[in-house]
Amino acid sequence: MSLRDFIALSPLLIVATGALVLLLQLAFVRSHRAAFATFLLTLAAASVDGWIRLPAVEQATAVTTLLRVDRFSLFFCLLFFFTSAVCGGLGYRYLRARLTGNRGTSTTLSSCPSSSSCGEFYFFVLLATLGACTLVSSQHFASFFLALELISLSLYPLLAFPVPLAKWGAGRDVSNREAALSLESGIKYLITSALATALALFGIALMYAATGNLQFSSMDFSRGESALLIGGFALLLAGVAFKLSLVPFHVWTADVYEGAPTPVTAFIATLGKTALLAILLRLFSEFSVHILETSVAMISLLAVASMLGGNLLALRQRNVKRLLAYSAIAHMGYFLVVYLVIDRGIAREATIYYLVAYTVTTLCAFSAVSLIDDAALSDVSNPQVTTGDDRNPFQQSFYRGLFWRSPTLSLCLAAALLSLAGIPFTVGFIGKFYLITAALDGQLWGLLGALIVGSALGLFYYLRLLLTLVEAPPIASGQTAGVRVVVDQPHTSAEPAARNNPLLISRSGLGLLLLLTALLLIFGIYPQMLINGINAL
């Protein structure tokens, strides 16, 4: 490797170095805040490096036979850095809310012994980011597989990240419940993901046997559709479909999403999927899927099943995280449409735009959910409040009337929901517009039909959540007078008081959420900016 190669790989190297530094730092300084600072600093340095290098990269630089750095991969590295920073920021709020509890008790809890064990969170996030960046830069199945495993291996501990046990009243129940769910989600993902990885690896081996090479660009398809090739491709596809949670490989999704700490759910929903989708774009355009007639049928089947299955399964969900999980399944299904028209000019642009749209929207939705959860925790730690179904901050009933309590927060969540549903002037609509254009361009009538039916089904559950936000809060006195008036009145009991107070959201969390919402609207109202950027790649 020459110096040129090192320079080409510099964003990846920065992240790797940052991860190592963070690990060393944690051996000496167990401060949560310092760990977070190192994490942000690493990402900032890597982003600045990537940002500067992006216009300068004229053509692709192959770094050994394994990696290849070009504008495409740098662009996605930047997107992943952004994703990680957001998820890390959410994680910071998440961990802090659990470490310190509500503000009144923070002094007594700072000495909590378990509070020192959370710096590793950022280490794993950095590792996963490194994996994602390596994945989009890979041009060889060896690096592809290594990067995929790096992502998965750092996701396991994140999913089951030990929630510091709270030592006070009602909060302990919450903590225990969270810890159990999170452990369950981690183990579920570990077992199923291991199986999928094995399948994918076997698939790669079979394809190697059929084509005689592992580098994407020099695989030899001249021998046509042998059973080896088709079998290998099918197994690889199954492994990939598992990671993307496509129907029928989706069974793990809802449980894992529900159990994981919400920032990690956001992470797995965005980075865990977009990295793979981005590399698939490169993979498929190297050996155009249309070489394999069978694969078109397989992908179409997966797409239609995911679009319809995801949306149908989401219809009856009352848990917001599970709902978003099924909605993600449906969105992955929409996404596959683009891969079937990969040889068309619009496919690349559509893929990248939709990836950005999906990332921004999903991050926005999960940020809102995560911040609501954190705020609810400090509510719940209030010992006089009872527990119950509508006390669970992920149940839909918890969101009832939220708009009248915390308008800004709810508006952001509403914007995310509208974007997921694909209403104009949000980024999700432009994404959907691209998909419909791609489907029409490739004359995929069946898939277009499934897309339309799926979107119509999707409207129902997005809307139900949206309307839950604006429903009247469940108190008797709110029926006749405005909430503003009610708040001013003296309360007869503590319960309505708790229901009407705005959720306490930290300013930094709200700022993050507003930033995401702003991006969501800007890219929706003025998409040309992003389109120009994508076409320059």
Partner: protein, 525 residues
């Protein structure tokens, strides 16, 4: 520029009245009223052009009065194009006047979260104004979808008993069908791209390519169907009308007024403005089906209206019936019927807005919409009853009032091509008389229910407030307009003449000569 100001004013005004209401209770309504008044004045800027049209028939070159075009997404040739012509002027005037009427009529009705309510009310109007002005299909679609969001909230937050269900049903019906519209729009653009090599969402440029031999292919028919279904759901045509009775009944009074008077018209407007000019050949082939749907809607709506006991539901079904006339008139594909359809749109907007307003004020007073509870109001509230009677007979199509103009022109225009459809539709007029008279007999003149009198015994029969002066003024607006249009419809008909004459040229000589396409391109705003 005026159009842009109009749009910006309504959007900003919504936010302002929300903020104003939060600062001081009762302030929001006045802000909203001011905003609407300024909007109407802004629209009044086009009065000279409207008067010009009365003097001389507009040529295709002078069809558009004003336009604004700003590139928006150059990658897809999408521009932010707003334009206005006689047809658009009529629709905008209807929108703003009905918006004003709805605001004044229900001044005191909403007491909960009033600021947010007013904001959503004005934003719905802004969306509709956008729909009536947009001359770029992508932009049109954006307004078409987003105008539903504030409407959805109006129904879902301030509606009656079953509001959430009705709101979701309304939204899903219209959004699902508009996905078809989006697919059809993109499909037309792709055809244009394949034939000319450039991407454009401008309806004029699309017209030029779609009128070539492509118009004969089955694809054109499918694309036309995509447009038709989306607009038919909003219209609503029979079979896809099921969202309407629920949404109208559950919406708050002002929401019903907006839905009935304005939102339904966007469907008809879409058919006239886009479906017919883009796909003349396919529309001609499809017209018998559409007209059959129209006639079926007229008869079915009248029948269903007759069997309702909920006043708002009855009016809602009568809308299905009246909009059937509009559909019939549009697909008769000649200038007379088309102008009749436009006149019917305006007349129906005004009369139904008033009917829903009165039904709302009855509910406000009596806390019931049931015909069996609301009886004999002539004795208790004579002024309100008299005005109610006027609007009922207007909706029945009494000669001398606006609805009669629209319906008779539609029937005359249809008779030329399809006498049987015309004859069947005329039966619908009798149906209208039957359900109208049912309303008159039961609600106005029936014996007042004994139960209520017993409970109101302490207050005496005068406990019911007759028409307030505010309501009377509000109702005078549609009343006078209906009489004026009924007696002297020429100014109104002239406004839509420019566009309907242009359309008629496509259908009298549907040959694909570039001449026609060129003439329309010349008319590009």
């Amino acid at each position: 520029m005026t159009l842009l100001w109009l749009l910006a004013l309504l959007i900003l005004g919504g936010g302002l009245s929300w903020a104003g209401e939060n600062l001081r209770r009762g302030c929001g309504h006045w802000i909203a009223l001011t905003v609407l008044a300024i909007a109407i004045l802004l629209l009044g800027r086009y009065l000279p052009q409207a008067l010009d049209v009365l003097a001389a028939e507009p040529k295709p070159q002078t069809l558009w009065w004003d336009h604004i075009r700003v590139p928006w997404i150059p990658r897809f040739g999408i521009s932010f194009t707003l334009a206005i012509d006689g047809l658009g002027f009529l629709m905008l005037a209807l929108t703003l006047l009905c918006g004003l009427f709805g605001l004044v009529m229900t001044w005191r009705e909403i007491r909960r979260r009033t600021g947010c309510y007013l904001a959503n009310y004005l934003w719905t109007l802004a969306g509709v104004v956008g729909v009536f002005c947009a001359q770029d299909l992508f932009l049109f679609f954006c307004f078409w979808e987003t105008m539903l969001v504030p409407m959805l909230l109006l129904i879902a937050i301030w509606g009656h008993e079953q509001r959430t269900r009705a709101a979701i049903q309304f939204f899903i019906f219209t959004q699902a069908s508009s996905l078809l519209l989006l697919a059809a729009i993109v499909g037309s653009t792709l055809v244009h791209y394949q034939m000319s090599g450039s991407v454009s969402f401008s309806p004029q440029q699309l017209t030029a390519t779609l009128h070539t031999q492509f118009a004969e292919t089955p694809y054109a028919y499918w694309l036309m169907l995509g447009f038709f279904i989306a607009f038919a759901v909003k219209l609503p045509a029979i079979l896809v009308h099921t969202w309407l009775p629920d949404a109208h009944t559950q919406a708050p009074t002002a929401g019903s007024v907006l839905l009935a008077a304005i939102l339904l018209k966007t469907g008809a407007y879409g058919l006239i403005r886009f479906t017919l000019p883009l796909f003349p050949a396919a529309s001609t082939a499809f017209s018998p089906v559409a007209m059959a749907l129209g006639v079926a809607g007229i008869l079915y709506g009248a029948l269903m209206a007759f069997s309702q006991t909920d006043i708002k539901r009855l009016i809602a079904y009568s809308s299905v019936s009246h909009m059937g006339f509009v559909l019939l008139g549009i697909y008769a594909l000649n200038s007379i019927a088309l102008q009749g359809a436009v006149a019917q749109m305006v007349a129906h907007g005004l009369s139904t807005a008033a009917l829903f307003g009165i039904a709302g004020s009855l509910q406000h007073r009596l806390h019931s919409r049931d015909i069996n509870d609301v009886r004999g109001i002539w004795q208790t509230m004579p002024a309100l009853a008299a005005v109610f009677l006027f609007f009922i007979v207007a909706a029945m199509g009494l000669p001398g009032l606006a609805n009669f103009v629209g319906e008779s022109l539609v029937l005359i225009g249809t008779y030329a091509r399809f006498p049987w459809f015309s004859a069947l539709a005329a039966v619908g007029l009798i149906g209208a008389a039957i359900y109208g008279l049912k309303l008159v007999v039961r609600v106005l003149f029936g014996p007042p229910p004994a139960v209520r009198e017993a409970s109101d015994a302490t207050m005496g029969s005068s406990g019911l407030m007759d028409l307030r002066r505010r309501e009377l003024f509000a109702l005078l607006l549609p009343l006078l307009l209906l009489v004026w249009i009924g007696l002297y419809p020429q100014p109104l008909l002239r406004q839509s003449a420019g566009w309907s004459n242009l359309l008629a040229t496509y259908f009298t000589a549907p040959a694909a000569d570039g001449d026609k396409a060129a003439s329309l391109q010349g008319a590009a705003p």
